[in-house]
Amino acid sequence: MRRKYVRALSTTALAAVMVAAAGCQDTGGSTADSAKCGGKIAIFGAFTGDNAGLVIPSLNGAKLAVEQHNTAKPDCQVTLQEFDTQGAPDQATPIANQVAGDQSYLGVIGGHFSGESDATMLTYQAAGMAMVSPSATRIDLSQKGVKSFFRVVGHDGTQAAAVTAYLKRQNAQKVFVIDDGSAYGAGITAELGKLLGPLQVSTDKIQERQNQFDATVSKVKSASPDWIFYGGYTREAAPLVRQLRAANVTAKFIAPDGLYDTAFPEGASGGAEGAIVTCPCLPADKAGGTFAADYQKKYNIAPGSYGAEGYDAAKIFLDAFEAGKQTRADILEFVRTYDKQGTSKYIKFDANGDVDPTKVVIWAYQVKGNEIVPLEELKIS
């Protein structure tokens, strides 16, 4: 009797835990029943998981844009449906099939990372949906002949050039280059290596979800560089930089936008102090209009990485709805010919879906305590 009771209880407890854990996956807006104007768009990216801190500002920016629109135009309601991919291509693919197959979705914001964008762009192209990425920066994404992929952010070629120029200005002599083997990290690191030439003394590759970096630390110590470049995301960078510092490596640390996430200094417990993070994204106060103030008011925090870009991406679709576009094909055409000042930059796409490189502004930020503060604008030449 008692045994049965215990068993039933434990089974129930387990089931309850599983249900609780499985719940709250995503929160969607309400379905708006709109007649002529408005419609439904999807946004996908790493809204939870290791590197969510990099993507959340963009999601919030997009939500802010939609909310402002819906308040201003009560008869033109737009629904923004969130899909959390945790940044993983294998999770983004089924979502892409679902969104592409549901004709009520007229456009998609994303992917936020290069890997998930790469994995899903053909699906969205086949469905004739415009895909506007706020933050996927890998160069070749726009060079694969996919006609429905656009991004409101500069690609890694520009960023790598800015990093190289910065390192040369800082009189760097030996740069040790490390990447995480991801679509984004390996891409920008390879690009940087080409530009750095002989300044790059040595390289190493780590793997995603790695925790212990003894071998990398030894290699860095043997090469005794004055700068370390890391292409990748927060999950691995935080323990890596911490272990480098623990081993008394004093070389300066520089990384592209993948680490523009306060989880990086927090996870490194002081190890990231002084690290430079570059980003093709503007500091909040430099963004146009009232965006920064509105964002601050709504979320009670300054817009971090890609907040303005997320806002811009949503704005493109909102403008399309306002212009009365109601089919995927019309919206795709509208995005292709979009030509307007955005919050982050002037937005007009070239034939590949990239914004004009001269309009792209790269900023260097620096880690101070648990904050990432703007340092200076990076000139490419």
Binding site: C24, G53, R235, A238, Q243, A247, G267
Partner: protein, 327 residues
């Protein structure tokens, strides 16, 4: 292939590998103990370790530990962390046994059911740490354990400094403590299993549960004991891990658990000394492989070594035994 680096600093890489492997070895003990007695691979053991790291993190945050505290304070907080981790990990292991495995055992469930239960439990604990705790505790959780699901840094409790240098190979204080602590824990456990009354009970149940029961050994108590012992070892590993790497995350356990399980198999699963040997060997092989090429290859090389070893010694380096032969 970076042979210059590997052979130029071979001693250094060996020491790095041994320190890395010492933690694998401590976790591997949990797998080996349970397997030795129950012939069950407790895949939830990696999460027992993760719970330990969270306990260390919570205690250190609660007492307001900052980077590089004075030595006396560091020693006190290390002991505090050890107590918390041992309690949390041992407790988790015990709860797992009571809630999940014992009911199955009572019904004579087939081995596969145990295995799938273990994997399921492992996922459940990962999600409890990642979702249920943050949702129920709210702000307290974030204050104590950092952002849910993301990698969380802990304060540096001991600043890593070279302790002594032999022929160009420097051993840092952190590496030294890790290795010595792991060896001491190991020796204690070995003594406990081979020399005490309780240990005799464990070996008896491992050899022949029915006969042991006839001789008056309480099987349930022995099984609880091995789960707690494995948990305490995982707790010690969690403390050393926190001191050495200073990070944790709800999903940390998967890779580490896999490595520790590999170490256990490499040394001969069910064999305590085998777990130590397997863990250290695995750590060294990984560091060598990562140095020779890069870190993406360390897992590949580690598993190739495992396969090769098992080809020639199918029961692992030291053979499977927990009391069957001399350990």
């Amino acid at each position: 292939m970076n042979f210059d680096e590997l052979f130029g600093h071979l001693g250094q890489h060996t020491v790095d590998g041994l320190a890395k492997g010492a933690i694998y070895a401590l976790i591997a003990l949990g797998y080996t103990l349970v397997y030795g007695v129950l012939r069950l691979i407790n895949f939830a053991h990696s999460e027992v370790f993760v719970v330990g790291t969270f306990a260390v993190l919570g205690v250190w945050t609660a007492v307001g530990l900052e980077n590089n505290p004075p030595v006396a304070q560091a020693a006190l907080f290390l002991l505090l962390g050890l107590a918390a981790a041992a309690l949390a990990s041992g407790g988790t292991a015990l709860v797992i046994e009571r809630l999940a495995y014992r009911p199955l055992r009572r019904r004579n469930a087939p081995p596969l059911v145990f295995l799938i239960t273990a994997i399921g439990l492992s996922l459940v604990i990962v999600e409890i740490l990642g979702q249920l705790l943050p949702d129920t505790l709210g702000g307290t959780m974030t204050t104590l354990f950092g952002r849910p699901r993301q990698v969380v840094g802990m304060p540096t409790i001991i600043e890593s400094k070279p302790l002594f240098t032999i022929a160009g190979t420097s051993i840092t204080n952190v590496q030294f403590i890790t290795l010595i602590a792991a060896l001491v824990m190991m020796a204690l456990l070995d003594w406990f299993i081979n020399r005490t009354k309780y240990g005799r009970g464990v070996r008896a149940v491992a050899q022949n549960p029915e006969t042991a029961a006839l001789m008056g050994v309480n099987q349930d108590r022995v099984i609880m004991l091995i789960f707690v012992l494995g948990g305490v070892m995982a707790g010690a590993a969690a403390l050393l891990w926190s001191m050495r790497t200073g990070i944790t995350q709800n999903e940390l356990g998967f890779v580490l658990g896999l490595k520790a399980f590999t170490a256990a198999v490499l040394g001969g699963i069910g064999n305590l000394r085998g777990a130590l040997l397997g863990g250290l060997l695995l750590g060294v092989v990984e560091v060598y492989a990562a140095t020779l090429y890069n870190s993406s290859w360390e897992d590949v090389v580690a598993f190739v070594v495992l396969v090769v070893v098992l080809m020639f010694r199918p029961t692992g380096l030291l053979g499977e035994s927990l009391g069957r032969a001399r350990a």
